[in-house]
């Protein structure tokens, strides 16, 4: 739909020969700049490798993450916000798919690492983040959700939009950093020492039941999102 509108706008703007040539030049300049940027990224990968033997890989993976986020317009904030703002849940469903796929892969990695038994699981060495849960999680996530909707992008989205050319996100990141520093002072107040680490496989006495619960919940959420999307936005 929007693509059609864009096409009409483009063809109507093609009245003069000049603007068409300009457009072609603009396209060429951008693509050449892009090619030059690839060279910059490769140099960066080499520089990273001077200090960190894994540096080059991390540079490449980070860049590809940015590329993938931009190309698919993937935005966690929109995934959480759009069901209420527009009624659309396609991105919400895609987000749930990332959780399901990544859960499966992290489970596979952790089982390979520690074995199927939970006796030797070491949270600090586990793939992923297994952290204390409590009041701080709820309050922090709530504030983060409000902030992400106001700023029009979450953590990954902010960096992605900085690259896309949104000047607003360059302001966001400055205050995100300042907020992180303020949070460094404020966070210990709500992070109680008694907050437990709850690892679902331990809670449910094994990987099998934990996986059943995890994937069932994700499936239910996916179906709910699908129904919500059909009702609110005609399946969008």
């Amino acid at each position: 739909m929007s693509e059609n509108i864009g096409r009409i706008a483009r063809s109507s703007g093609r009245r003069t020969q000049m603007s068409d040539a300009q457009r072609k030049r603009r396209k060429a300049v951008q693509i050449i700049t892009g090619a030059a940027l690839i060279a910059v990224i490769i140099v960066m990968a080499f520089v990273a490798n001077q200090t960190n033997p894994k540096g080059a890989y991390i540079v490449i993976i980070g860049t590809l993450l940015g590329y993938a986020l931009q190309r698919s317009r993937f935005c966690f904030t929109a995934a959480l916000r759009d069901p209420f703002l527009t009624g659309g849940t396609n991105l919400t469903k895609a987000m749930i798919i990332t959780f399901a796929l990544y859960s499966f892969l992290l489970m596979a990695i952790n089982i390979t690492k520690f074995g199927i038994s939970l006796d030797s699981v070491d949270f600090s060495k586990a793939a992923g983040y297994i952290r204390p849960v409590g009041f701080h999680t709820a309050l922090g996530a709530f504030l983060f959700g409000i902030g992400a909707v106001i700023a029009g992008g979450c953590a990954s989205g902010t960096f992605m939009r900085m690259g896309e050319g949104f000047l607003q996100q360059w302001v966001v990141v400055i205050f995100f950093i300042i907020g992180s520093m303020i949070g460094g002072v404020a966070a210990p107040i709500v992070q109680f020492k008694s907050a437990p680490v709850v690892f679902l496989p331990q809670l449910f006495g094994g990987w099998a039941l934990a996986a059943f619960v995890q994937f069932s919940l994700l499936l239910i959420l996916y179906i709910v999102a699908d129904i919500w999307g059909r009702k609110k936005a005609g399946g969008r």
């Binding site: 700049t33 990273a48 980070g62 959480l80 916000r81 990332t98 952290r131 700023a151 953590a155």
Partner: protein, 180 residues
């Protein structure tokens, strides 16, 4: 062969459009993101995070302008140990900026989007600070706590999911009232 058919055969395939211009579906994006995140785990042993190091960037900036922040309780010597090339989230964050820029450039769709009103500045300040404070409290952001945390079978990821959702819901309804 009819003339129409010959013309159709002659039509050039625009590989640039296929490779760089066409947008990916959300599901394609989802799969690629998970593959890359898994690659990061395999290479580094650590899952993707974004916000855990942002306060260190702030502290490094303070050091640059002559403020010795390393003795502050929130750093406690962490700034001295900080090395950009050894800080995985620091590299991936800059990588995300460069990757998104690259994607926009190769698609010839890069455009600087200026700040249009003071409202956007206030939104940026308020939203940025709330996200920063929230991520520190919850020990992670939408990536570290939600994407990586929930997928690690850690309850804190699920609680984060529930409450970021409530936060987004509350704020969306407010946005609707104010701007629509």
């Amino acid at each position: 062969m009819s003339e129409e058919k010959i013309n159709a055969n002659k039509q050039k395939v625009d590989y640039w459009k296929i490779l760089f211009k066409n947008e990916w579906s959300y599901v394609t994006g989802a799969v690629v993101i998970v593959v890359l995140a898994t690659a990061l785990v395999i290479v580094t042993g650590k899952s993707w995070g974004v916000t855990g190091i942002l306060h260190l960037w702030g502290g490094k900036f303070l050091e640059l302008i002559g403020v010795n922040a390393d003795t502050w309780s929130i750093y406690n010597g962490a700034l001295g140990k900080f090395n950009f090339w050894k800080s995985i989230p620091s590299i991936t964050n800059v990588g995300i900026v460069l990757g998104a820029l690259l994607s926009a450039l190769l698609a010839a769709s890069f455009k600087i989007k200026k700040i249009k009103s003071y409202k956007q500045v206030i939104a940026a300040i308020l939203g940025g600070i709330l996200m920063g404070v929230g991520a520190r409290m919850a020990m992670g952001c939408n990536i570290g706590a939600l994407f990586s945390g929930l997928s690690s079978f850690s309850l804190h990821g699920w609680v984060f999911f529930l409450f970021i959702f409530i936060g987004a819901m509350v704020e969306s309804s407010m946005l609707k009232k104010w701007f629509m």
